[in-house]
Symmetry: C2
Subunit: 233 residues, 2 copies
Amino acid sequence: MSAKQFTSVWFREPRKAASPGRSREEIVAAAIELLDQEGLDGLSMRKLGAKLGAGATSLYWYVAHKDELLELVYDEVWGEMTMPEPEEVGWRAAATALAYSMRHVMLRHPWSADLLGRLPALGPNAMRVADRMRRMFRLAGFEGMDVDYAGSTLTAYVYGKTLPEIAWNSAMADHEYDADAMRAMVARAAKDYPDMLERMNMDVYDDPRAIQAVAFDFGLVSVLDGLERRLAT
Amino acid sequence: MSAKQFTSVWFREPRKAASPGRSREEIVAAAIELLDQEGLDGLSMRKLGAKLGAGATSLYWYVAHKDELLELVYDEVWGEMTMPEPEEVGWRAAATALAYSMRHVMLRHPWSADLLGRLPALGPNAMRVADRMRRMFRLAGFEGMDVDYAGSTLTAYVYGKTLPEIAWNSAMADHEYDADAMRAMVARAAKDYPDMLERMNMDVYDDPRAIQAVAFDFGLVSVLDGLERRLAT
DNA sequence: ACCTGAACACCGTTCAAGT
DNA sequence: ACCTGAACACCGTTCAAGT
């Protein structure tokens, strides 16, 4: 119906670059600070304006709407992801390092989980990582579209695994954590499934963070093994 | 700080079950209808009340807050996921079927992507799927915590892969899709990376849905191969 | 060129009051 | 037991007006 073309912040020239007023950089930095402190719900145009000592709506001069601001902020997240040059360490070590870096950046900025996979990743930092990842998988031996497929398999795993971790962490941060109470609750939900109840006796609920770390590595190794297997055939 | 215990709709008795007034089932059904029509942003307590011919705030008698309503709705999503009995078809066929079913349910209810991984999955339908998945991976040969790890590897992949698909689809639905314009835009973003530009000539942008389907299968096979490899060692 | 304030059309949630 | 309406404290965004 709507004839609007798809667009993105990255395709609009920023308003005059430098000059007197506020800059995009300043706004983005303040936004990230607010996000780290208060989460995604804590970022409102009004609060951000106030933080910058500006009127509630003055940000609309720099940014067409809130989503553009989020696109900007989102690319900063990509900027924090680090990864060795695949040519130097080999593809598998590079892939492992990238996966861990993605996970740590997400855990450090829990709000980023709500942006990942939802916003177009067309900023310069996202591009840099995407390029490195492509080179990594070509080095491994993938060709044509398989390079893309391998890349999205890896990122899908990392993302899909880390997001629930973040949700769990934040639910736990908002509440008093009590391993036994938790166990009792889950046991109640699982009461009809003897096979699930067996899990209750394990130490899953005593040190959830440690378990999460082991689980992440287990899956990562599996995914990389699976990709490696495709190269062999 | 807050001493509140973690809780969930599933741990509060529903208000008197049957009886005259509205029922949870009725409310949940209306909520899903609204969600399918207007997406997550389209679901407000006021609109849902109106749809049920009730005052804006009468829903608060059935549900403590909006998140509880979402937990209820979320479990319906799990209820739509189908999966053969692993004992009958073998673990790998069952895992493949489950993965595809998850993907299809998510694509059918795009709003569910915002709930998956974010809300605790403690409802009866979620439990049923979780139990079947556990039995599936035990049948495969996993033991102890590895059963969990294998399960969360699979769901992480499906979820992490499908969510960006949904975001892409909805961005495209809101805009006029033009393969060449899209190509030009991405090319511009990738201008510094010759390796990425090479991709532009492929047919990625001509039939995105078909490519997504192939990509999903590629990754799924890889993940299952990787899990299978762990069993061998 | 940059910023402001008022205004519009929304939210979720609480709560005293009604039947 | 169930539902209502008014009220509170918020949202994103538009826009005419100011400097």
